[in-house]
């Protein structure tokens, strides 16, 4: 993975020193809250319901074991012993003190981490496929390009005060695990007929009040044109994106208003002016960055391992974990492993300092010291030898990290909701907890098959409910928590918007409704049809009838 040189270090350290000075001026009263607020937000520090919240960037979801240990240390020393991994592949601490934040950021800087671009109307940290560099189905590793975009966008002189936040996602595989179509810009690495690698470019996706699926800008953009094309896209948006209404300021609204063809025309016209001016990055630099992401030296091993077969036959839970939480690796004899942060009855995405330390140790022992964070709020060990899987699983299982539910109904995305978030209408976490307790049977879950439930505590949609096979949205109904049920969304390559099924429910009602929806699916499915395909074939009516009765 990428390693800082003196330039990167100097920049992040300068940022910490700057923030230390700003915090100091705030504590002394030299800065008012009004003046300080935008400054702290630019450093990932929010004021939530009960305390400050610090959002730390995990660029494109890649972490080293050493970095994970530092995250554990911060949780222990400055917080209450845990952290929350988010749908943007970041980590949030729920209880830092303002006066200690500069120290936290300095400690993070020591391990090449920061909180830059985790808030504010800038290009936010780029997200990608959690299996990047490991997945067997990958055209190319997206991370070198994500790192290039990270550097290009950091403190960009022109694009740091955009109409609204701006999210870019990039994937290198045909199976979209990064929800690229739900981003302001989505990049999909592809090979053209000539065998060259480039990007399909998508624009104008986003969730929130107005969910929109991104549209295609260009079928194929050569890699060398990536930054100049992004620059043209951002410049047109920066000039013309609305600034009068923050709910209409995202690029999706602009693209919708002018039409994708007109946006493309304007971007192309802008691009013509700048594409031949070399933008910033010499070829040696691209090569330097790429070298950091060279595949790890994994030996080719036999695909079958006797240790695995034996335990698989003897232990059903291990067998389920193998089926659900491990996947095909580029190098034979290896797998990528998903560590579920969704224990039944637990808080989706939360990990304690001890669990973080353990994952770091396991990464050292079994996965080339590499860890990934997925947008589905799980952790990944990307490079594990198959023969190590039994030992790895038993260590995870002992620490409460062995839940074999990746991709199943209880692998729920949930935002922090009203338990922490000051923008929330309702709580999200307790809904996830009750659903996972209701479905606490791995055989039943495997029978139900792939089913993604996504819960947001308000329309800001951090819990991606628009993209849930089953989505749940919290609304405020006259001061009471109320939950809307949505069906049929997808965040994958077949992206679709979930539709509201009918009137909302209270806390107990929404869980019953989910159970009824699942029962309809089990009764109606054909052959090995998934929930999503069954819903697409059946339409909402049968579900509506089961949930609300007939009349």
């Amino acid at each position: 993975m990428y390693a800082y040189d003196t330039y990167d270090h100097a920049m992040v350290n300068a940022r910490v020193a700057e923030f230390r000075d700003q915090v100091d001026r705030r504590m002394k009263g030299e800065l008012t809250e009004e003046e300080f607020r935008p400054l702290r937000l630019m450093n990932g520090l929010y004021l939530q319901l009960h305390a400050y919240m610090l959002r730390v960037a995990i660029p494109y979801g890649t972490l080293s074991a050493g970095q994970m240990r530092k995250l554990a240390h911060v949780a222990r020393k400055y917080d209450k012993g845990y952290g929350h991994f988010t749908t943007r592949q970041n980590i949030q601490y729920n209880w830092p003190k303002l006066s200690e934040t500069p120290d936290i950021l300095q400690e993070l800087s020591d391990v090449e981490m920061h909180a830059i671009q985790t808030s504010g109307n800038c290009i936010r940290n780029v997200t990608t496929d959690q299996f990047a560099g490991a997945a067997a189905d990958e055209v190319a590793d997206p991370r070198p390009y994500a790192e290039l975009i990270r550097q290009w966008s950091t403190f960009h002189p022109e694009f740091s005060f955009l109409p609204r936040k701006f999210k870019i996602a990039i994937t290198g595989a045909a199976e979209d695990r990064a929800a690229v179509k739900w981003h302001d810009i989505g990049l999909v690495l592809k090979q053209n007929e000539a065998g060259e690698v480039g990007f399909e470019v998508l624009a104008g996706g986003g969730m929130g009040r107005t969910p929109v699926i991104a549209k295609s800008m260009r079928e194929f953009l050569p890699i060398s044109d990536m930054l100049s094309y992004l620059e043209a896209m951002l410049r047109v948006y920066n000039e013309q994106g609305r600034r009068d209404n923050k709910y209409k300021a995202r690029i999706k609204i602009l693209v919708d208003a002018m039409g994708i063809d007109e946006y493309r025309r304007q971007v192309d016209a802008e691009w013509e002016k700048i594409r031949h001016v070399p933008i910033d990055v010499p070829e040696e630099e691209v090569a330097r960055i790429k070298a950091f992401f060279a595949p790890p030296p994994l030996p080719v091993l036999a695909d079958a391992a006797t240790e695995v077969d034996e335990l698989e036959n003897a232990n059903f839970v291990f067998k389920a974990w193998l089926a659900n939480n491990t996947g095909a690796h580029k190098v034979p004899g290896h797998a990528h492993v998903t560590i579920s942060l969704k224990p039944h009855g637990g808080i989706p995405g939360d990990a304690t300092d001890e669990q973080m330390d353990l994952v770091a140790d396991l990464a050292d022992a079994y996965s080339q010291s590499e860890i990934r964070v997925s947008h589905e709020q799980n952790l990944i060990l990307p490079h594990v030898a198959k023969s190590d899987l039994p030992a790895l699983w038993s260590k995870l299982d002992e620490a409460g990290l062995g839940t074999p539910n990746a991709g199943l109904l209880t692998d729920i995305i949930a935002c922090p909701g009203l338990d922490y978030c000051s923008l929330a209408n309702t709580r999200s976490i307790p809904i996830a907890q009750t659903i996972t307790e209701r479905f606490d049977d791995i055989k039943r879950l495997m029978d139900i098959g792939p089913l993604k439930i996504k819960i947001s505590g308000c329309i800001n949609s951090c819990g991606h409910h628009h993209a849930g096979h089953i989505g749940i949205l919290g609304v405020d109904r006259r001061g009471e928590e109320n939950y809307q049920l949505l069906l049929g969304g997808s965040g994958a390559e077949d992206a679709s918007k979930a539709a509201i099924l009918g009137p909302g429910f209270n806390e107990a009602g929404i869980v019953d409704a989910v159970e009824k929806v699942v029962a309809v699916y089990l009764g109606e499915r054909e052959d090995d049809e998934t929930f999503l395909s069954a819903y697409r074939r059946l339409g909402p009516d049968v579900f509506k009838e089961a949930v609300y009765g007939t009349d």
Partner: protein
């Protein structure tokens, strides 16, 4: 108000001209974009240097028409978060090769000092209590990932240039001429 000089340019002294006031002979004046577009050659012959007060809502297309006539430009930020001002400056420098002074006015914040410099601004008009913070902010960062109009090449280039160090020389866009 005080003027922060980002690039070491000789700041332009000028009069901000109301729309119904005529320039004196040889006087440097700043006028609205609309007026600049409407005035005839007599106006330009009378005035000394003519600059435009460019609001952040000014369409880029208007720059096409005025860039050639400008001696200097004042870009007015209605709020520090209105990033269109940065793009306008970049465009003047990049698309039109504009070499004159670009000044920022409005509630820009000290922490934007280097952003302004890098986007091509020379000077900033700020309230006097912000002067110290503005000047401190100018020396905060040793380098950036983008080549810029303050005369600094990007870290990406510095990494591959033997003996290259980074830091703002202060007169990038003019030195290049």
């Amino acid at each position: 108000m005080v003027l922060i000089n980002l690039t070491g340019i000789q700041p332009t002294g000028f009069t901000l001209l109301a729309d119904d006031v005529q320039p004196k002979e040889g006087e440097n004046v700043a006028v609205s974009v609309e007026r600049l577009l409407a005035e005839d050659s007599a106006f330009f012959d009378t005035a000394g240097g003519v600059g435009a007060v460019i609001t952040t809502g000014t369409p880029y297309a208007d720059l096409d028409a005025i860039a050639g006539k400008l001696a200097f430009a004042v870009i007015e930020f209605p709020a520090f978060g209105d990033g269109r001002g940065f793009s306008l400056a970049v465009r003047l420098r990049k698309d039109f090769g504009f070499k004159g002074e670009i000044r920022a006015t409005g509630p820009v914040i000290p922490d934007q000092a280097l952003f302004l410099l890098r986007a091509g601004f020379d000077t900033v008009d700020v309230t006097s209590e912000r002067k110290t913070a503005f000047e401190a902010a100018l020396s905060r960062f040793p380098g950036f990932y983008q080549s810029d109009f303050g005369g600094q090449t990007s870290i990406a280039h510095a990494r591959h240039t033997v003996g290259h160090t980074i830091g703002h020389s202060g007169e990038g866009h003019r030195k290049a001429s």
